[in-house]
Amino acid sequence: MRPVQFFTGKGGVGKSTVLGALATAAARRGERPLIVELGIHTSSSHLFHGPDVGYEPAEVAPGVHATRVQFEPALVDYITSRLKLRPIATLVAKNNSLRRLFMAAPGVDEIVTLHRVAQLAADDRWGPILVDLESTGHALMFFDLPGVLEVFLKDGPLRQVLDSATKLVRDEKRCAVHIVTVPEPLAVNETIQLYERLRQRKDLHLGCLFINRIPKVWLDEEEQRLVKAELEGASAGQPWAPDLALAEYLARRRQTADKCLRGLRRDIDLPTMSFDAHEEDSSAIIEALSRAIEQAEVW
């Protein structure tokens, strides 16, 4: 597995769950996976029923570590890397004027985040590193950043951060971008748009497509016909009619999912891995998904 894996996809598709399962499977293989979350929310602590994930990597499940890149400590880390002396860096980061400037200046947040990701990637303790990019918009901004900043960052230390991050992202051996989705129409539309945009970026290396929460097949075709006939005929208005309506709905949901899966297969040319929907709580889901990963050939 390549050392740095980025995951993107529409919110709510279970990106963190898929990441958690991949990390669990990697840990079972004896690797040292690290989940990297960006932003103010942490999903992995809920996912693994652990304590709040902070800046310093902490073990959230056997062999699985997680970290959340927060602005202020990431800024201190960045400044330390320039000034070499952490006490001075902390002073600079704590300087009110400078901190305000950094917090408000567009781009600084993104750059120190990139710096932190690159720093973790360079640390031998971790591999693979699984980066949870929050949403599709966020991911595009993240990958577009070097291009945007190139305009005026001709040289200097921030430029070096960008260059090394760009080098990392462009290195096929070290880095891949994966897409997570669910077989639902809105998500599929967005996933295909995202795929097209990422594919245009020749410098990115796309990895796998993960399709999460594929609904269960409850009824075979004959049973579906029976349900439909009963609903329109003898069972209409009967006390058990809602049960048939439910069965019809579940069958329809699966049909919609099948249509979505066909669309994804048609439009997205990536190795694909699918996961069935699970009704249990998050640890049971992680367990089921990680077992599926272990048996998969794609990953």
Partner: protein
């Protein structure tokens, strides 16, 4: 029944991504339009979700008229997707007292690089547009669909943050720090540190940018104050949209804390996909299936049991959340038909319920 009070002029839908926030914002706007109000639904999300939900091909910065599925006297629905670049340029032009000064900012490399791309400027432009449209007499109500995940909350901070950024003391400090002239107390050291940390070219570009922007500060500060008042106004409602599963509830808690922590009032929480309308059978007692369904009966029982269980789990999550947060909640069903047009959307939100405690 999901409905906003008549005095409400502005509704912010907040929440993490993937919970159906955009769909809800569209449905809420539609519902209010069908009640005879003129509504603008504004999305700050660059993805095409709002257009998809309303069944139109695309949305632009200029509001489009959305045809209503049935006539409603006085009711109108409009929708727009923010195009950040245009809005940011407008903001600069409005804030500058003369066109030459505005042009200098618009020509600045830093401004150009940032105005179109990054989350922060997107957020600021969005809040500007909200402010502008709320005062537009064409609309009785503006429904705002905030961007997903953390920017959902960050968007609310954007104006104040910009003003802090342009704070005179900070700017003066920065400009002094990058001033080459000797004799400035502390300036030389700060300058060296800054150039070491940020690099010469960035410091020079920022200096140029800040020198220009500093002149616009007054305008920005005034506007940020107005936006803050607007968000705390009794005519503004914050609506948190969430899923009802346990991971979703945890995320909702942290978003709720962010809203309340800013002194904004959380009016309602909407739990999406909280139930499946098809299992809304009043009588939960087992039924006797006819002979024609005998073979299918065990499956039907299993399906119902599983979904009832899931629904009950979600319901108790919701009730616990409301009790803990002291919030009122609505629950919305899973859409059992695709929500790709306004009639489907209207039928869907029609099924929303106020949450009743567990029987």
């Amino acid at each position: 029944m999901i409905e906003l009070p008549d005095e409400c002029r502005l509704a912010f839908c907040v929440g993490v991504g993937g919970v159906g926030k955009t769909t809800f914002a569209a449905a809420l706007g539609l519902r209010e339009a069908l009640r005879g109000r003129s509504v603008l639904v504004l999305t700050a999300d660059p993805a095409r979700r709002l257009a998809d939900a309303l069944g139109v091909h695309g949305l632009r910065d200029v509001p489009s008229d959305i045809p209503l599925p049935s006539t409603a006297p006085g009711g109108e629905l409009h929708a727009a997707m923010l195009e950040t670049k245009a809005s940011a340029d407008d903001i600069i032009r409005r804030a500058a007292d003369d066109p030459t000064r505005a042009q200098r900012v618009l020509d600045n490399r830093i401004y150009q690089a940032f105005s179109n791309t990054l989350a922060r400027s997107h957020a600021y432009a969005a809040m500007e547009r909200v402010h502008e449209t709320v005062h537009d007499p064409r609309y009785d109500l503006v429904v705002v669909d905030t961007p997903p995940a953390q920017s959902s909350i960050e968007i609310l901070d954007a104006p104040a943050r910009l003003v802090r950024f342009l704070d005179q003391r900070v700017v003066r400090w920065f400009l002094q720090a990058s001033d080459e002239s000797p004799g400035l107390r502390g300036g030389a050291i700060a300058q060296r540190l800054l150039r070491t940390v940020a690099g010469d070219s960035l410091v020079s570009a920022l200096t140029e940018f800040l020198t220009e922007m500093a002149f616009l500060r007054e305008g920005f500060a005034e506007r940020a104050g107005e936006v803050r008042d607007l968000m705390r106004s009794s005519r503004t409602r914050f609506i948190l949209v969430s899923s009802a599963d346990s991971v979703g509830i945890e995320a909702a808690k942290s978003v709720a804390a962010e809203v309340v922590g800013r002194d904004f009032e959380l009016a309602h929480v909407v739990f999406n996909r909280a139930f499946v309308p098809e299992i809304g059978r009043a009588d939960h007692a087992p039924v006797t299936y006819p002979d024609s369904l005998a073979a299918l009966a065990p499956k039907l029982d299993r399906m119902r049991a599983l979904l009832t269980q899931e629904e009950a789990r979600k319901h108790s999550n919701i009730v616990a959340f409301c009790k803990e947060q002291g919030a009122r909640a609505w629950s919305l069903p899973e859409a059992t038909r695709p929500l790709g047009d306004t009639s489907a959307l209207a039928a869907w939100i029609e099924q929303g319920r106020a949450v009743e405690p567990l029987a």
